[in-house]
């Protein structure tokens, strides 16, 4: 087998644009193994649902989105079928045309509001969370009392308090709020709208606004057209009842439009006010900037104090990209991390043995100079020298194979490049995991071969491969179980966090040592 030619660049280590890599990665993987690597949306910690392989994101409960869509569709279809022919004949062709355009706008903006990422902030990596914890502890709060966890910042000469989100483990940026329904922190959080079945935040507010404005136009338009239609039919003294009998669908449309126009118009007006003053529903409801606390004039620090500028910045501002990389591939850190640990531990054990042997041999050689010990010691020396040579050879082989293994893949530890020498025999006692030896975080990343995807240099034959299959299945079930538990229980076990969070360095700090150890121990329990 040839060395893997495809480019495996650690997306965390190098700032190369990651979107270009995963498709290549996926293609190579699928070609070579017929198995798919997991995408990040599959392990997303929030309560969202994904469709079309991560392209579409919705909240966990679709709310009344089907009802919204249904009502709009039914009303518009009835309008086109029952009212448009009459109006086309008696009035103008523009009526169905305008109706059509408005309908298209409404449906598209509704779907975009529902299926777009509202501005979800990815959760903090364990390193970031640890760094923040360190900063909080340094500022002198005691460990027994839960600290208030707010941070004050000055925004445009005004003091704003940033709250710490315990779920996402970070201080929320200004205007960000945590949606309990979706279990995500959303930037510029407006509200969670059940009618569209999604949160409304920074990225989809403009779609939401377009939706409600175009829907209010559509509702008013249909209401007006249906009223005109009935009025025209009732002309000539025939009466409204006669008109309704001739066109019963119009009655249905009238009722729907009449009851919805008030709420939709009201909502549009409210959001127009919010847009003009650069406020969010959340801030308006909480009264954040309404000067409730007395003396100072606490105005909105985000407002440009100009209606047009506010409108333009909210609606026509630049469209920020989604920060959750839904379709990116998960680096398989849990299995490869344990593999790397295994390789590193084997090397360490061999080295420790070598060191011991070296010491002993030095001691013995020194003692050799004492005549009484004589011949026995010379024999012992030769044995020791033989052992030392074996050790050095073993270590060298190990290091050579670790460095030369060219098969970085997100994969399965049982995948082997036959160009690598079989330097680790699972039956070799040196490979036995010693629970007392903690993995040295420095050595772990150093034995990487092609980024984060570690090579596994086991011998190819069946038995170890089966063991590793089992090992990997064990990991998969663990990750599947832990991902399902995670949202509910917020497990803070760093081992789980490492396996599930977005790309993190395998070099965990000492605070994560025990968690990683436990994780590694479990996998080794399966292996042996």
């Amino acid at each position: 087998m040839k060395h893997c030619e495809y480019q495996q660049i650690d997306p965390q280590a190098l700032s190369t644009p990651t979107p270009t890599l995963p498709p290549q990665h996926a293609v190579v993987q699928e070609e070579k193994k017929g198995e798919t690597a997991r995408r990040k949306w599959e392990v997303f910690p929030g309560k969202n649902r994904f469709y079309c392989d991560g392209r579409i994101i919705v909240a966990q409960q679709s709310g009344v989105l089907p009802l919204t869509l249904g009502l709009i569709l039914v009303t518009t279809v009835l309008f086109f079928v029952f009212d448009c022919p009459f109006l086309l004949k008696h009035l103008t062709v523009f009526i169905p045309a305008i109706g059509g355009v408005l309908f298209v706008f409404v449906v598209i903006s509704l779907l975009q509001t529902s299926f777009t990422d509202p501005g979800i902030l990815p959760r903090a990596t364990p390193d970031e969370a640890a760094d923040i914890e360190k900063q909080i502890d340094n500022s002198g709060s005691s460990t027994y009392r839960p600290p208030p966890r707010t941070k004050e910042v000055m925004i445009n000469q005004q003091v704003v308090k940033l709250k710490y989100c315990f779920t996402c483990k970070m201080f929320r940026p200004p205007r960000t709020s945590h949606c309990s329904l979706c279990d995500n922190c959303v930037e510029r959080f407006d509200h969670h709208c059940p009618w569209v079945g999604n949160c409304v935040g920074k990225r989809n507010y403009r779609f939401f606004y377009t939706f409600i404005v175009s829907l209010s136009f559509l509702t008013v338009f249909i209401f007006g057209c249906v009223a005109t239609h009935l009025a025209l039919r009732a002309q000539g003294g025939r009466g409204l009842m006669f008109a309704l009998q001739e066109s019963p669908a119009s009655a249905v449309e009238l009722v729907i439009c009449f009851f919805s126009v008030w709420s939709i118009l009201g909502l549009s007006g409210f959001h127009t006010y919010l847009v003009a003053s650069n406020l969010t529903t959340n801030e308006d409801i909480k009264g954040s900037w309404s000067g409730k606390s007395g003396t100072e004039d606490t105005g909105n620090p985000y407002s440009y104090n100009n209606i047009i500028t506010n409108c333009c910045s909210v609606l026509c501002g630049p469209m920020p990209p989604s920060l959750i990389d839904r379709r990116g591939f998960m680096p398989v850190e849990e299995s490869s991390q344990t593999v790397a640990t295994e390789v590193e531990l084997a090397a360490k054990n061999e080295i420790n043995v070598c060191q011991l042997v070296l010491c002993l041999s030095v001691f013995v050689c020194m003692a050799h100079h004492h005549p009484p010990l004589g011949g026995q010691l010379s024999g012992l020396c030769s044995v020791l020298c033989w052992l030392m040579s074996k050790c050095t050879q073993g270590t060298k082989d190990l290091l050579e194979s670790a460095s030369r293994s060219p098969c970085p893949q997100a994969g399965k530890p049982q995948t082997v490049s036959t160009s690598c020498p079989d330097s680790i025999d699972p039956a070799d006692p040196a490979v036995t995991f010693n629970p007392d030896v903690t993995s040295d975080p420095v050595a772990v990343p150093s034995l990487k071969c092609g980024g984060r995807h570690h090579s596994h240099t086991t011998s190819p034959p069946d038995e170890p491969r089966q063991l590793h299959h089992h090992h990997n299945r064990h990991h998969k079930t663990r990750s599947a179980r832990s991902s399902s538990k995670r949202a509910a229980l917020h497990i803070s076990n760093p081992a789980y966090n490492v396996s599930l969070s977005p790309p993190t360095s395998p070099g965990l700090g000492p605070s994560h040592g025990t968690g990683a150890e436990e994780h590694v121990r479990d996998s080794f329990a399966t292996l042996h």
Binding site: I9, V160, C316, T395, L399, G451
Partner: protein, 153 residues
């Protein structure tokens, strides 16, 4: 294909852990993406203050350019609205273009300035635009089409 032999002995001589230093966001001008220019004490003497500040200031300038509410963004927004946002399927937004420029800049900075000093700058986009992080004491491998390149130690 050139390969590199990784001597474990050599690695053991640098026993310090792979540490991360995070530079947080600066919210003094609102919710625009800006990072604090304050030099973190953890970096100590590993990098000159001026180089660090230059990098962060340049990044801030790029982000300000991406988020600028001006003529081009209005046109983009209006065009998008007029086409019922279908234009986003065909065209890359200005923000995305600037983010690509930023990635290129960060890579260049890493190669020229930070890697020789044993540091690695990560792109804030990978951290949800919350932090810029510096990694130190990590070996990173880039398996290019033809060779291995050791980037940082």
């Amino acid at each position: 294909m050139a390969t590199e032999f990784h001597n474990l002995q050599e690695l053991r001589q640098s026993p310090s852990l792979a540490t991360k230093v995070f530079i947080q966001r600066d919210y003094s001008e609102g919710t625009v993406c800006r990072f604090q220019i304050k030099f973190p004490s953890e970096l100590g003497s590993r990098i000159e203050r001026t180089l660090f500040e230059d990098t962060v200031k340049t990044l801030n300038t790029y982000y300000a350019e991406a988020e600028k509410v001006g003529g081009q963004s209005y046109m983009e927004g209006c065009l998008a609205c007029a086409t019922a946002y279908f234009i986003f399927l065909c065209m890359e937004t200005r923000y995305e273009k600037v983010l690509k420029k930023i990635s290129g800049y960060i890579q260049e900075q890493n190669e020229k300035i930070y890697a020789p000093r044993g540091l690695l700058l990560t792109d804030p986009v990978e951290r949800g635009m919350r932090v810029v992080s510096f990694l130190s004491n990590t070996l990173i491998y880039c398996h290019g089409r033809s060779s291995y390149q050791k980037l940082a130690i």
